[in-house]
Symmetry: C2
């Protein structure tokens, strides 16, 4: 069964041929993408290099490559190489940032009501008071309400999750950045779900993300990008090594360096594919998924059909268990998706959803197979 062609099928074909053949149908890039042969080989090669040369000697030989990676990643978020450090994960980035920022206990941070629960927990653990941003019915920031909040009772900072892990809706990050800048309130952007998925060069003061999702890099690598004005407010727990930008004090030293090398190659593959073309195809895949899946066997799509993301979430029909469905899709049909319970974003979710998140190599056929299996 071959469906209609989607935009940039050449990109789908080249993405597909660049990586191992999937065991089934992989519709789970919002959890973890499929690395390319080249990335897998670069990681393995660096690890072997570590065994031959010594871990730190190998790291020194990779430093030019890592610095090139910081530079390109900086470009994706509108910052410079000196503003980018490697950490272990998006969560580690947030924890590292908050530990260095040392905001006074009770300082107020405004978040979406649908904030990712682990982020909200880390903000609270740092002693911050978490308050809701005004939103519309879909959980999107209400810009007029945000402007009023910033004008009348500005929080110490705004933390915005660009695309939720539980909903394929893009927040108006560029507009939020403008409002925050005008109010002198720093904007921290969680780009775990948005980097290499939608445009992340939006003017945020801090952007953090992960390697393993839309960039299709290795697991165990994260990114923290901080503009100099915020960096100047940070007091790192550990001092920076000599001869590097001061922010480098936040880069972890005990690290999966081979994974960082792999991430740099993955970033290169993203840039080579063309970020704008990538976005167009991912959005087309999301739209196709929603059109195919809406109403199938009683499942209902949460996002607007034309949300410019590849992530679709589905509310189950009455009496259907999402965890069981996800397991059945995997074991009986080889279709990889994620079951998301309401505890992931308890301020917004009223029940579980099934998340479908194809990357560039997915086909219309994959989406139809999912609909049939549902």
């Amino acid at each position: 069964m071959l469906g209609p062609a989607l935009v940039h099928e050449d990109l789908g074909a080249s993405w597909r041929s660049a990586r191992p053949r999937p065991a089934g149908r992989h519709l789970d890039s919002a959890a973890c993408s499929r690395q390319s042969h080249r990335v897998l080989e670069a990681v393995a090669h660096h690890a072997r290099h570590e065994a031959e040369l010594g871990g730190y000697v190998a790291e020194a030989t990779a430093e030019d490559l890592l610095q090139q990676g910081r530079s390109v990643i900086g470009g994706l978020v509108g910052m410079a190489a000196a503003d980018v450090v490697f950490v272990e994960s998006a969560q580690a980035a947030l924890v590292t940032l908050l530990a260095a920022w040392g905001l006074p206990a009770g300082a107020r941070v405004a978040c979406l009501p649908g904030e990712y629960a682990p982020n909200a927990a880390q903000l609270r653990a740092a002693g911050l008071g978490v308050e809701p941003l005004p939103v519309d019915g879909l959980g999107c920031a209400d810009l007029e309400g945000v402007a009023r909040l910033l004008a009348t009772d500005p929080p110490r900072l705004v933390h915005l999750t660009h695309i939720g892990s539980h909903r394929g809706v893009v927040q108006p990050a560029a507009e939020m950045a403008s409002l925050c800048r005008a109010a002198g309130v720093p904007l921290v952007l969680d780009a775990a779900q948005s980097l290499a998925h939608v445009d992340t060069d939006v003017g945020a003061d801090v952007v953090y993300s992960t390697s393993r999702k839309w960039l299709a890099g290795p697991r165990g690598v994260g990114l923290l990008c901080v503009r100099p004005a915020v960096a100047a407010e940070l007091t790192p727990v550990l001092p920076a090594p000599d001869d590097v930008p001061p922010l480098r004090a936040l880069e972890s030293g005990e690290a999966h360096v081979a994974g960082r090398v792999g991430l740099v190659l993955a970033v290169g593959e993203h840039v080579a594919a063309g970020p704008a073309r990538v976005r167009e195809r991912l959005a087309a895949l999301g739209r196709a998924a929603r059109e195919v899946l809406e109403g199938t066997a009683g499942w209902r799509v949460v996002e607007p059909l034309d949300a410019p993301t590849a992530t679709t979430t589905l509310r189950p029909p009455n009496g259907v268990d999402v965890v069981t469905t996800r397991a059945r899709l995997l074991t009986e049909h080889g279709i990889v998706t994620t079951a998301i319970g309401p505890q992931r974003a308890p301020g917004e979710m009223t029940g579980p959803v099934l998340r479908v998140s194809p990357h560039l190599d997915a086909t219309f056929d994959d989406l139809e197979a999912l609909a049939t299996a549902l």
Copy 2:
């Protein structure tokens, strides 16, 4: 030039044949050991599996292996599988522990004066008051003085770095654990330099360590082991998943899972080699290094000749720069060592040292080559 045989040469030969041929002479396992072919292949295989199956599906298939690893690692520190979680590094283990413990600001923690500076910084960042343990002239805990401290003015906890990163001296951890237990003061043991190097089943309440040093596992993986009595005092920032021991709330979810798989294989190789035999050969290598190096070209060994470790540190002769020497050894002779500045343990070091840390595959010839090059 072949020197005298060291104890368990068979172990040296099998360790050597199990891993890639080194580019030079690797005497730097206190920084990062050389992974075996089997570990390198297991990591690469799991990463490929992630690309074929999906990252989280691959992780689920590895869970039995990971649980076996937790069990064997638990055995090395005298704890159960349920007491062991994987994190990203030894530093991450300490940060995670302190964040969950939530000790009141100003609570007192007693450490060696020669405490590893990043550990002391993390303890201070957690709001703790860091106080010195009484020590002898070599920086070894003075057990009578510790007993007095615990009897008269007990701290909230004792943090003991079992073997320093800057000195191949073993602290009397078992005796410290007895004293602390009798006093009702928890003992936290930093085993980054001691796990798989000396006996770490000493009765500490918390043991944390790293994969990449004496276990010869991958970089980017750490271990945190917590006895139930201390675990009961912890309030994790994030909730544990269902159906796992509560401590699992401290295990990072966004992680280098392939590295954890590799670590489990590396732990298996350590156990197969025989931990007691490993310790004997490492101690013999340390003793041989000290005998060969003491006085060479004016360099002086810091440790007692018979310290039961493989780590030797050398004070330079007057006018010789350690950083320059380390670079010269590497570039001119292919000998990998580490230059350690006094900022690593400012409460104890009075100047820089050159650290020499052979693993099982090192030979007497390697040590003589270093002496000649110095």
